[in-house]
Amino acid sequence: MSRLSLKGITKSFGAIHALENVSLDIAAGEVLGLMGDNGAGKSTLVKVIAGNFRPTRGEMRMDDRPVEFHRPVDAQRAGIEVVYQDLALCDNLTAASNVFLGREATRRVGPIKVIDYAEMHRTSAGLFRQLKSETRPRDLVRKMSGGQRQAVAIARTLLSKPKIVLMDEPTAAISVRQVAEVLDLIRRLRDQGISVVLISHRMPDVFAVADKIAVLRRGSLVTAKPAAHSSPEEVTGLITGAIEAA
């Protein structure tokens, strides 16, 4: 049984076919490396999964039940979380406040609801422990390293106990050491049975963590197979079109 199953997903913007008949399966606890050149349709596919776009045609199933997302909130409720490329963090707030942003823990004091900082610090400390990241809940995000910032962004997705985490170019603009940290974070998610869709340009990063590789070219899926059965050379050929399909 696959966690997420796409069947014949097509997305057209007027005469332009951004996605053409894409069928793809992701198992629970699987890391899927989604690759392709600029404009190949990676972002469009992710936006369809995250509920930003509705597909023109095609069907999506989660755990063998058909799903339809009209808004990002629908996808979130179904257990799909997104880590944005720029991480969407507030530098002036603490790690815990960022993890809980928009869904703060509160408790009642008389007639008013006040923010329960103790609870937020406790829960986010637990999430950082789970991710094995040395991130302190009370620290300001402004003072954090790139790896810690990623940990905060990922801990935020864990708050709702997600089934699938979509990561858009998480290793694009960070140092080599921080890339290693982020790849570790992805492995921790996988170890907890969470499926990860990793969109990346960086071949070594994808092959370091992905169980499965999918390549898009001009809106069509040209391959989807276990990473062990592929190679960076083959994927490069598929991305550029030197290899037609595999």
Partner: protein, 330 residues
């Protein structure tokens, strides 16, 4: 391995109370204000008199009340240039209504409603029409003062109907030796300080100032919140307008002119970051206090009032300069 990780996560940066206080801009601003007060006490025999201290505490209360509202706006990444005009509009609404025989309470409520409406217009144009806060509130600066002139026919009002004495008592009177505007300021500081730290509204306000896009992505109702922030700022200006009407005992249409600059200065000296995301209620109060102490000291020392702007301007730059140095060291 796990134990060291746990230790790292649970570690709170242990720092003494003093070093934590010293890392805040308002500590230094407060220290400067206290030093100035001490110096004045020694250098003049007019500063530390009951009469003068009473005046200082009352005068700075008006600016400080609005500076608290301004801090909310600045911390959310905006600016409100219309507060001085809201002051006169609110004062004019309450005085014209009281002059024509209405009670103080009815007139005060109407004045505050008008102020809230001005804030709602500002906020709606900024949040929903996406116009720059600077432009919208600059327009309102002109429009609200003009509305006050239309309302009063540009005449001075000094008779406030049946509740005349009540208005003068509320704005200009004192209880237990402290001027009434100071009580309003203390209440507002406590409530706002609490709201900033302990409520979602406060948390979201700082989130919007820190990264508006992130706030939107996490589902915070950014637009609605922005409207309420500008309404809060206008509300504080409305309160100040009512109190000033009672303090002065007469209202003219030049009330609150150029006040927005002093208010913004107070907020910024008190640690509000014009780039958004930072600011405290106590900071605004301390900033306003420092400005009033400077003003008062120049008068008492017999220095020409023409120098006031020079001193206040220098302080704004020095306070923000201190902040930059601190950030660079981090």
């Amino acid at each position: 391995m796990t134990s060291t990780l746990d230790q790292a996560i649970d570690q709170i940066q242990h720092r003494g109370t003093l070093s934590r206080m010293m890392s805040h801009q308002i500590f230094w601003v407060f220290a400067a204000a206290v030093l100035a007060c001490l110096a004045l006490t020694l250098m003049t025999d007019t500063f530390a008199t009951e009469r003068n201290l009473f005046n200082v505490s009352r005068n700075f209360a008006f600016v400080a009340i609005i500076a608290i509202g301004m801090t909310a706006v600045i911390a959310s990444g905006g600016i409100d240039l219309s507060v001085g005009s809201v002051v006169v509009l609110s004062a004019m609404v309450i005085s014209t209504m009281m002059e024509s025989g209405n009670s103080f309470w009815l007139s005060a409520i109407c004045a505050l409603l008008v102020a809230l409406a001005v804030g709602a217009i500002n906020g709606t144009l900024i949040a929903y029409a996406g116009m720059p806060a600077f432009v919208v509130t600059l327009g309102m600066l002109s429009a609200a003062r003009s509305a006050a002139m239309v309302l009063s026919n540009n005449k001075m009002i000094w008779e406030f109907g049946p509740d005349h004495d009540l208005l003068l008592w509320i704005g200009g009177g004192s209880t237990l030796g402290l001027p009434h505007p100071l009580y309003a300021l203390i209440a507002l500081t406590l409530v706002t300080g609490f709201v900033f730290r302990w409520t979602r509204w406060g948390q979201y306000l700082f989130a919007i100032g820190g990264n508006e896009q992130a706030a939107t992505l996490t589902g915070i109702p950014v637009k609605r919140l922005k409207v309420t922030i500008y309404m809060f700022s206008a509300f504080t200006a409305g309160i100040a307008g009512i109190l000033m009407a009672g303090w002065l005992g007469s209202v003219t249409t030049n009330l609150g002119q150029a006040m927005e600059l002093t208010v913004i200065a107070a907020a910024v000296i008190g640690g509000a970051n014009l780039a958004g995301g930072e600011g405290t209620a106590t900071g605004a109060v301390v900033g306003a206090l420092l400005i009033e102490v400077i003003r008062n000291s120049l008068i008492l020392l017999g220095i020409s009032t023409f120098w006031q702007g020079m001193f206040i301007g220098t302080f704004i730059v020095v306070a923000v300069g201190f902040d930059r140095v601190r950030h660079m060291r981090n």
